[in-house]
Amino acid sequence: MGILHDTYALYIREMLIFKKNIRTSIGRSLIFPLVLILLLGNLGSTIRNLPAAVVNYDNGVASINFMNALESSGEISITSITNQHTALQMLANGDVAFVLVIPPGFSAASASKPNLVVYIDSSSPIASASAIAALEQTAQSFGAKLATQNIASRTGNSQAQPPSAASGALQANNAPSFSMYTNYTYGASESYKDFLIAGIVIMVTAFGSMWSGGISLLTDRQFGNLKTFLVTPINRMSILFSKMASGITQSMISGFIALGVGILDGGIVAGGAMGWIWIIVFMFLSAFGFSGIATILGARINKIEVFSLIGMAITMPMWFLSGAFLPTSTLPNFMQPFSIYNPMTYAVDAVRDVMLKGFISAANLLFYSTILIVFGAVMAVLSYIAFKQTMG
């Protein structure tokens, strides 16, 4: 009875309202993961049908095989051009991402192969990096060495013929070919998408917490519903607790939807059953802390616009500094301390460890969870104070 009973009654009310608006709520919690995981996660990781022009001066069997091999991955789509000048014109126009010149004598059965020449438009870094990777791989398998020429600016002297290209292409390449082997020691996957999913799940969970509990406290104050609760003989704190509890529940649902989207899109949880438990624990801890922030704002702010503004100003930097999108080591030096003091960093790290490495060391587990519990406790106390001041 008492405070638990009152909290439960108000919690049921919140959840009934949530259920009434289930379609909007689910829709809202789908948009972020869909956009971020499906688009951002799949963006840049691989390329498809990158247009390329090939000027084949050789026309031998090996050169045809080379072109087929290049196209076979589906990454590159080749157009054959007989004239180098036309091909470079196409590159200048942006019709193709790179031009490959296969020199005469490529198919000759000599021990050494002449240089292939590639002109590449580097204005699209992701596309050019992928193109170079694909070319190098194919070239290696044919024992050919690649010479690349960047044309950085399309408006520049794109017509300029590389002076050494013609002569360089005829030079014999005596360098030995080699292969590189990649061993993934821990990570179950090296793809950016899998890296991103952990960040998005935590981000969506925190986001949901910020918006469900806090906004509902604000609107209850605004529309007078809060007054009808305050005139009943309930313990006033049960209002705060019910907002936090319903906020956590709703944001955990959003977080699971995000995780579901990620897994349907090919994400993995390497940690297995234990991994799932740890994911739930860390989702809960981050939702808890943010529901505290949300109720502080909801108890203090009178306008929904101001709430959104301040909410964004708090959450946005925290997401970006948490390494949800890119590793924190890519942050500039002056920003890195912020990510160290950002509790979300640890939630993202923990979930990422579980999802990609498949395990989380006891020391890290203790460290991460302690930070998040302290964060949550501090926010809960602050929201208790804020609530007490406004609601008496």
């Binding site: 009654a9 009310r13 309202i17 605004q222 529309f223 007054k227 305050l230």
Partner: protein, 331 residues
Amino acid sequence: MSEYAIEVYDLVKKFNDLTAVDGITLKISKGEIFGLLGPNGAGKSTTINILLHLLEPTSGKALVGGYDIVKHSREVKKLIGLVPQETVVEPELTAEANLRLFGRLYELPEDEIERKISELLKLAELSEFRYKLAGTFSGGMQRRLAVVKALIHDPSILILDEPTVGLDVQNRTALWNLLKKINRERGVTILLTTQYLEEADMLCNRIAIIDHGKIKALGTPAQLKQSISKGFIIEIFAEQKYTKDIIALIKRKFRLESSVSGDRITVNVSEDPVDFLGKVSSELEKEKLPIVSISMHMPTLDDVFLKITGSSIRDTANNEVVSPTMRLRGR
């Protein structure tokens, strides 16, 4: 237990420099329908919020059912049902869920909640809308639901803050009837605030006229009206430059005192000699004093209000925004 439902002694509430409630004393008997009548900002809602312990009184004392509102606010809350000004129902919950929520907040047993829901929905004539969302209800239906929601814990006192603001005539009458029925059949004491004179007149056993945080007059509607005039009131509208002469004429010819407010002259007539109105108008005509209009009526609460506060409640209430939601948005 006290013989009074509500007792207020010298209640003061200050907000910084503003004194919203300035020494109010009143006693409301059990079973009464008591109206606090006054324009916006008169201190009606503040008084109610203090009774509900939503605000701390600056000084003074108030008892509800014999309990001190500050020391025993929990007991007081069990005795009171509130229908707030903003007509709060939970629009995204069904009528049933609305009542169930408050049944639980008052910690009633589940089977009793079940019983009360049927009983109260019947009382509000909403039984057939039990499983409909309250947000789909008309304004009048929502208001009735809000009223019965405040009755879920069988309070002995029902407090309503501006219960009929924004309702049309039919819904207003229906709500008055509902309140009368609750008062009559359940013996619930009703305290309401209003700025509608006809509402106070129709519904209330006793009225306190409140302005600038003070009670200016207290009594039954009939007593208040009689305090103005035992007979009739003549109201003359004339251009302001003539009002002085008209007052002088009435004093000279009929030995009657008049009062003036802007372009309006009111004359209290204790008895009605035949064709008194005709005599006044012919005298005015003789003296070539032009008037805009002249009328005679029984004293109304508006006359009482005018005499007490110096301005008509309609003048002061004119800035009132009709829809309560508009006011909320403006906050």
